[in-house]
Subunit: 213 residues, 2 copies
Amino acid sequence: MKLHGYYRSSTSYRLRIALELKGLDYEYVPVNLLTSEQKGEAFTSRNPFGSVPLLEAGGRDRVQSMAQLEWLDEAHPDKPLLPADLEDRYTARELAYAIATELHAPLNLPVLKYLTNEYGKSQDEIGEWYRHWLARTLDPLEARLAQLGTGDFLFERPGFFEVCLLPQVYNARRFGFDFSDKPHTTRIEQACQALPEFQRAHPDNQPDNPERS
Amino acid sequence: MKLHGYYRSSTSYRLRIALELKGLDYEYVPVNLLTSEQKGEAFTSRNPFGSVPLLEAGGRDRVQSMAQLEWLDEAHPDKPLLPADLEDRYTARELAYAIATELHAPLNLPVLKYLTNEYGKSQDEIGEWYRHWLARTLDPLEARLAQLGTGDFLFERPGFFEVCLLPQVYNARRFGFDFSDKPHTTRIEQACQALPEFQRAHPDNQPDNPERS
């Protein structure tokens, strides 16, 4: 398998965690979003959406992160990301899709670029926008985790939900989001970060991170 | 089952189509988004995200449309929304999640309200924003449909993808989006609209549509 991604792209980060948790070998191919490599013909001929991650697996280019995650679990059922129980599967997906559908898009790079270039918004205003949408999903997410009586992970082992949560929390911290009223979210964050699978998947440890030691 | 929704909410519309395609009986409970009923305590105590649709089913309140769709197919395997073949399942999800994750959020009512209230954007500017993000996903979606050699539906029968596509196309038409260069998308739209399941699910035919004849 080859994962074409960018170290700081939250959707690429999801896939790296998932592949690590499932113990699947993959080659990481950096795509430079800063030079718009993903909009060049060489890339868009393989992925018309012009976005990362692109997962080259099972003889095919796969280009939507949530569909990639669902496929990984169906094609490689060992070490499942989703639990076996029907209700637990619903719960994991509810929280994961809250992040993927409500939160991801308004915070994605193209939207931030639009606000800067078309609306002339400053870095401070972008920060406010970012934190506004973060709160709108991370506040109720924390409430849901409290209702569920979550421990270190949503279920026994980290999976589908944590794969989506950690990259979003990483981004939120970059934008100075205040997590002081979110004990459940931060407990899960810390428990995940202690695991080697999450450490290997972290943006700090990717070859295309220019600050990598 | 009870579906708490709003006639013009695209995610509520997804669920109505899915329930109709699966032949599942449900009671429709209107939630008035114009009076912010979804932000009131009576609603948020059941759904902390304060959003529709809320699906009351299997003894539980379910609150994320994509997780609801995945659950419906697992809990009620008759008349599946997703095809049986692993690769076809990936394809259906790739296109459905492109709509649900990239397209839905920047076009969702809260974002449009933010642009109006915080940034003072006019109705014309909102229209431009809307069509910009539509094109960004609907253009490559059309290219993907062309690559796949799609007929009247993505596969033999409408399912997971069409459930997500039709509400988005309905919204796009409200905002005057130009579909003249999208023969595949519009062929699927027309084939779906000819079916009674899609007609019953249409916003025009919901009890909370004030213009309903």
